[in-house]
């Protein structure tokens, strides 16, 4: 039993080297999971506002029919870069930031498994987005082919800055893969004694599966952009029928990445909601094991449904049927999840703190997005809906009121743990209610104009859509402004204003992260805690 001495030795050693560094170097050279988590989260928020500003340009142009504010080519650049930024710059980094902050604390680890690589994967991102954004100001403008960069839009008909787009996606991908490797290895190798697989918090479980998806599909995206590069600049014909290739092959490769990517953006959200709902229901999560199995089956199914994005490309009927039925299968495990959240609340003693408000909004609104997805999965019906605003409504319900709302719920839930102070609850409630109302004014009418046939990604539209579009734009501006309340709240929180909170913060909260002091110390769990 000489462990106490060796432990003491390490502690003094640590005091020597691991004091909190000051100034800019702290952030540039950091290997601390909490610092890196903070960097990711702020980066994601800045990108969220940037991509949001582009959405404002789009909505301003669509406020009334006709072309009044921007050139069509610039409009296309806005839709493209808005999508790229929100997917790769806002949602994914925000989840990675949460993973960085929370996974080591939740599993009782001292840090992420590979702390220096962790820093590398973060700092690649700002550079990648500098490249992407600066291409907007170059000759010919930035990418204008949609975030899905379908060939031949991205090959024959794109401008030369496509090369910069390709390489910025390459390094973004490298960042995601390194981040995902770090998460997987941390979860496999760094769990505290007693933290068995089926005791892991669901946020950890969902991120484990997300990380697997990332490592599996980000390299496929790298392959897709590489083929676009060689087709455009080096005379290959992967996506050109004259050389024996096929533009539809681009869509197959892209969506083989793209569909798992959709779940990369929603599985961590499921994890977050599964943490928050039990806390404010003061009941353990209903059906923990079924949640784990549901998450796993969603992830596995995500590899065999990609062509439901391509029903109108003229695939053989057999393929259409297969992808339709496989897609519908996903609604089973997703239904299990929604059922479990509702069952967790059933006869719980509910209270409605801000994280719970966002979580409840998530459950209702994400389910709307899921149901419209089920409609889109029906092949013959999709022939009508494809490339209309119905699709836009669907994925914005899933990604904005789904992924983004879950991120906001997570920030409100864990922010007091990070700062040690309660955030400004009045501002938070304003943020919630303004966002909730405006986001529905923004996205709900899109279902109607979509069903009536308004095409997406076009800067002009037929007169009969004018009234709805006016309201959509008003909702859009209101939703954009509402996020400024969030910005004000976050700045206030980072300046450590507010009431000090206890270690547990929320009355019903359970888990290792709620057993350490608030604010969480710079280094947690130097020696692993024992989980009973």
């Amino acid at each position: 039993m000489n462990t106490p001495t060796s432990e003491h030795h390490h502690e003094s050693h640590d005091h020597h080297e691991h004091h909190i560094p000051k100034g800019i170097k702290r952030w540039l050279y950091t290997t601390n999971h909490k610092d890196i988590g903070t960097l990711y989260l702020w980066f994601a928020f800045i990108m969220f506002l940037t991509g949001g500003a582009m959405a404002m340009v789009i909505r301003a142009e669509l406020f009334q029919p006709g072309l009044q504010i921007v050139e069509p080519n610039f409009f296309n650049q806005m839709t493209t870069v808005h999508g790229l930024i929100m997917v790769f710059g806002a949602v994914m980094p925000a989840f990675t930031g949460l993973a960085n902050w929370l996974i080591p604390m939740m599993i009782g680890a001292p840090d992420m498994a590979l702390p220096r690589m962790n820093n590398w994967s973060f700092w690649i991102l700002p550079f990648a987005f500098i490249i992407l954004l600066s291409s907007l100001f170059m000759e010919g403008g930035g990418p204008a082919f949609g975030w899905t960069f379908y060939a031949p839009l991205s090959t024959t008909y794109s401008n030369d800055t496509t090369a910069l787009f390709v390489f910025s996606v390459h390094i973004m991908g490298a960042s995601s893969i390194m981040g995902a490797i770090n998460v997987i290895v941390t979860i496999f190798n760094m769990r505290a004694p007693g933290m068995t697989w089926m005791k892991m918090p669901l946020f950890v479980w969902t991120w484990l599966i997300t990380a697997f998806l990332l490592i599996a599909v980000m390299p496929v995206l790298a392959g897709a952009v590489t083929m676009v590069l060689t087709d455009k600049f080096f005379g290959t014909s992967f996506f050109d029928a004259a050389g024996g290739g096929d533009p539809v092959m681009f869509q197959h490769i892209f969506w083989f990445f793209g569909h798992p990517e959709v779940y990369i953006m929603i599985l961590p959200a499921f994890g977050i909601i599964s943490q928050i709902v039990p806390t404010f229901s003061r009941k353990p999560l209903f059906g923990y094991a079924s949640m784990v199995y549901a998450t796993t089956s969603i992830a596995l199914l995500s590899f065999i449904v990609w062509a439901h994005h391509m029903f109108t490309t003229g695939m053989p009927v057999f393929a259409e049927m297969f992808f339709m039925l496989a897609t519908m299968l996903i609604s089973v495990p997703t239904g299990v999840k929604v059922f479990n959240w509702v069952a967790t609340m059933w006869r719980g003693s509910l209270s409605f703190e801000v994280p719970m408000l966002f979580a409840l909004a998530f459950i209702v609104l994400f389910t709307i997005g899921g149901l419209s997805g089920l409609m889109l999965a029906i092949t013959p019906v999709d022939f009508q809906y494809h490339d209309t605003y119905f699709v836009v409504a669907h994925f914005h319900y899933v990604l904005v009121t789904g992924a983004i709302f879950s991120i906001m719920a997570a920030v409100y839930y864990w922010l007091p743990k990070w700062t040690g102070k309660m955030f400004d609850i009045t501002l938070a409630k304003w943020h919630f209610w303004c966002s909730l109302v405006s986001v529905n004014v923004l996205f709900f009418p899109m279902h109607f104009v979509g069903l009536a046939g308004m095409p997406r990604r076009i800067p002009d539209y037929a007169l009969q859509f004018a009234d709805f579009n006016k309201w959509i734009s008003i909702g859009g501006f209101a939703f954009g402004l509402s996020q400024l309340i969030f910005l004000a709240l976050l700045i206030k929180a980072c300046r450590k204003k507010g009431e000090p909170v206890s270690a547990q913060v929320w009355e019903g909260a359970e888990g290792l992260e709620w057993e350490i002091p608030s604010p969480a110390p710079y280094h947690t769990f130097e020696t692993p805690p024992v989980v009973k």
Partner: protein, 293 residues
């Protein structure tokens, strides 16, 4: 409580290398993008300088980062648990590389099994053939494209077969080096590992010969339709991986010569040999699907 559970996990203090690595990737991406635009569009610019600066930064960063790492490892800061982190990290990295090659193999299979037959009128595409490409006949290897480019198919005998034997042999010698390391016989490691590096170099040399032959005598180029595309992209990325793998093995050889690695502590060696075996497996797939079939 056993002592193992209290084992200290080494969390490094601040490090400048990752940030430098991010700068390197930034310069590489900007440089590569500009070089591509400049060379293919005949424009003037600074792309190649930026690319070289990025490459130099990357090499400098890798050198510094690894020196740091080796120093830490040799001064005994690492634990068994950390070793597991590294091994698992490497395994997942190799999985990501597998998926990168899978994208190009996927393109090969799609072109071969779907795109080309459909252009020739298969499935429900009879009118595609009759209206758009009336004289086109589906075949693989695609030696005449719908657009009319003709080329020759690369046979699997000769150079590719020799290269297969070379690379398979190198996997064996690499394994022998590992066996020797586990026995702690340094001279044997140097011999087997040196042989592996030479075989790697020989492979790359033969591959270059094959490319020259394809370009100058067969008319098989990167531009000759989807057969040439998949051929050069798959063998090209593989050749790049062999080059990187050979460099890794060369550095390992130098480290063995300097007296690094012990029976118990040789993660870098293991990672390098895993990488080499991975490159070998990819080649076997390539030889089968690109050359033979």
């Amino acid at each position: 409580m056993s002592e193992k559970e209290y084992e200290k996990y080494y969390v490094p203090a601040q490090s400048p290398w990752p940030f430098m690595g991010a700068c390197a990737l930034f310069l590489l991406a900007v440089g590569a993008g500009n070089v591509v635009i400049e060379t293919t569009r005949g424009k003037e610019g600074f792309g190649s300088y930026i690319l070289i600066a990025g490459f130099a930064t990357l090499v400098f960063m890798l050198f510094g980062w690894f020196r740091n790492q080796i120093h830490e490892s040799m001064s005994g800061l690492y634990s068994e648990q950390l070793g597991r982190s590294y091994r698992q990290g490497m395994a997942w990295f190799i999985f990501s590389e597998v998926m990168f090659f899978a994208a190009f193999f996927g393109a090969l299979f799609y072109a071969r099994a779907i795109a080309v037959p459909w252009l020739g009128g298969a499935s429900n595409n009879q009118m595609t053939n009759e209206v758009l490409w009336p004289s086109f006949q589906a075949m693989w290897p695609l030696v005449e494209t719908p657009g009319g480019i003709t080329t020759e198919a690369m046979p699997w005998t000769g150079l590719p077969l020799y290269n297969t034997i070379i690379l398979l042999a190198s996997s064996v010698t690499c394994h022998m080096a590992h066996v020797a390391l586990e026995k702690g016989k340094r001279q044997q490691i140097l011999g087997w590992l040196g042989l592996t590096v030479l075989l790697g170099c020989l492979f790359v040399f033969m591959q270059v010969e094959e490319y020259i032959h394809a370009y100058t005598e067969m008319g098989l180029t990167l531009q000759s339709g989807v057969y040439g595309n998949t051929f050069f992209m798959l063998t090209g990325f593989h050749g790049f991986h062999v080059t990187v793998g050979t460099l890794i093995l060369l550095i390992l050889w130098l480290r063995v010569a300097k007296g690094h690695f012990t029976k118990e502590n040789h993660f870098a060696f293991q990672a390098g040999s895993w990488y080499w075996h991975f490159v070998d497996v990819v080649w076997v797939m390539l030889f089968f699907f690109v050359y033979i079939l």
